[in-house]
Amino acid sequence: MNRCPSLLMGVAGCLALLLSACADPGEVTNQTGPEPQLPKVNETLLPPMKIAKPAGWGNALPLVPEGFTITALATELKIPRQILVLPNGDILVAEGSGGNAPKLRPKDVIAGYIKALGKTDVEGGDRITLLRDADGDGQAEVKTTFIDGLDAPYGLAFVDGSLYVANQDALLRFPYTEGATRLTDGEEVTKLPSEVNHHWTKALTASADGTKLYVGIGSNSNVGERGLDIEEERAVIWEVDRETGARRTLVRGIRNPTALAIEPGTGQLWAVVNERDELGPDLVPDYLTSVRDGAFYGWPYSYWGQNIDPRVRPQKPELVKTAIAPDYALGSHVAALGLTFVTGETLPAEYRQGAFVGQHGSWNRETLSGYKVVWVPFLNGRPSGPPQDFVTGFITGNDRARGRPVGVTFDAARGRLLIADDLSNTVWHVAPTGAMTGSGTPANTPQ
């Protein structure tokens, strides 16, 4: 009779050993900058997973460097993702969550459930909210629905009196008059690839001269595991003519370009890009890169230049030979979703040239990475040093997440950095302490 328990225990023991034998804590020291260390591919039976479950902020606030003050500009949003500041200082927040990828495999069902444990349970707003902080105290006095009835809006751009909104399936234009608090009557500039929409976010920015719009379109899979037929015009950045809607594909093989921005000194387009999962805790670094017209960045066939991904068949060695490495690694699995450049002299001297990058945070490694906003210093239009933590405190001591940063937007005219947090559904406001025109004390903390 007692043979059953021992047999069962034996089975369980074997399984535990099999799975854990493959676990790799993953502590590569240098994974940022132009030449990150790339360990060997380490595929495991069970990918390393650590989900930071949500914890409220309570009385806590994110941590900012000395000389800065952070406040909650607005709370109780509905999955805020990207932010745009209008010329009059009004702040627009795109809220929503998209994607309609069918569950093709048992894994899709299980992984979907697990990843949802680290997300908000609020339903996406499918709207743009307008926030107004006229007195500059870091708390919005006006919070109103600016545009509703959208379909997972993400990228925002404002050019020449028109607001451009990238829904998950189309690029829209809305005529704007200064001071407006509600817009309707959007028209479609162009449709965007929306089949499946595994990576649904459509990042958006305007060229320095305002004639073109750039749209980041993510891949439809991690690494082609939904078949390559549905990857047509995915993992690309489009250049769309603002007047006609005509488009051309600027770059390819750029797995998931989640935020686009123009470097102010050079007028060059830059992107933050999320790289592939399940090759190990220290592969593949997400990156910040200048977007070089006509370039192929490797996905899905290779990563960080010409390192072959063994999971893609048939391979394409002749195409891989053309793949270029990106400019600057941000670290593996940090999930960079926000990018904004600093201009002007409203911030202290060490923050005059460079970019802020919002990092949503990892799931595919035992040690959490990301979950912060970093500062990447620039010199002459190129990154000039390692990334520095700028806003932290999103993770508690016991690895729970109070918030997850997404879009970051620097408002040069008013010297403030705005951060969308789609876990606590908050927009954070960071400004030099002396510059705060209000009381300067921490605002209400979100629930």
Partner: protein, 162 residues
């Protein structure tokens, strides 16, 4: 109809099925599903068409689920045999059956994780070998499980041993 004389001397003699009919039905699933997974794995490796590895993943999941119930039942079977001389004779066969199911199921479960990797890595050599192991073990378990035991000979052997 009169029975043959030899059977008259053995009141308990009969053909003795190892598996309850419901257990037999459960076993039919992993036999069909693991062998189908092997076929779709081979097709994937020959075609690189992603749908075939997706098929394999569901087939393996089904094989593990239904095979898991069969495995639990086999554990009970082994644990409960041995109460009577007749059952003691069944025991060896039941243990062989249990071990085959265990091999099938463990290989199937490991293979399910292997198959949860993306793209080509979902199968490769490892996935194929594991699919072959599960298929062969399932077929062998079926061979053992569906064979009837000659209980009267076993009983005779027990009697002679006394």
């Amino acid at each position: 109809m009169a029975a043959p004389p030899v059977r008259q001397r053995l009141p308990h003699s009969r053909l003795y099925p190892l598996l309850h009919p419901l257990h037999a039905l459960l076993l039919a699933f992993p036999i069909a599903l693991f062998s189908s997974a092997l076929a779709s794995d081979i097709t994937y490796l020959n075609s690189a068409e992603i749908q075939w590895t997706n098929f394999s993943q569901w087939l393996l999941a089904g094989g593990c689920l239904m095979g898991g119930f069969a495995l639990l039942w086999a554990l009970v079977l082994v644990a409960r045999t041995g109460a009577t001389p007749e059952e003691r004779a069944v025991r060896t066969r039941a243990v062989v059956y249990l071990l085959l199911l265990a091999v099938m199921w463990i290989a199937g479960l490991v293979n399910s994780f292997q198959h949860s990797r993306d793209g080509w890595s979902s199968v490769e050599t490892t996935g194929l070998v594991l699919s072959i192991i599960s298929t062969l073990a399932a077929l062998a378990a079926g061979w053992v499980g569906y064979s009837s035991l000659r209980a009267e000979r076993a009983y005779l052997a027990e009697g002679e041993g006394l």
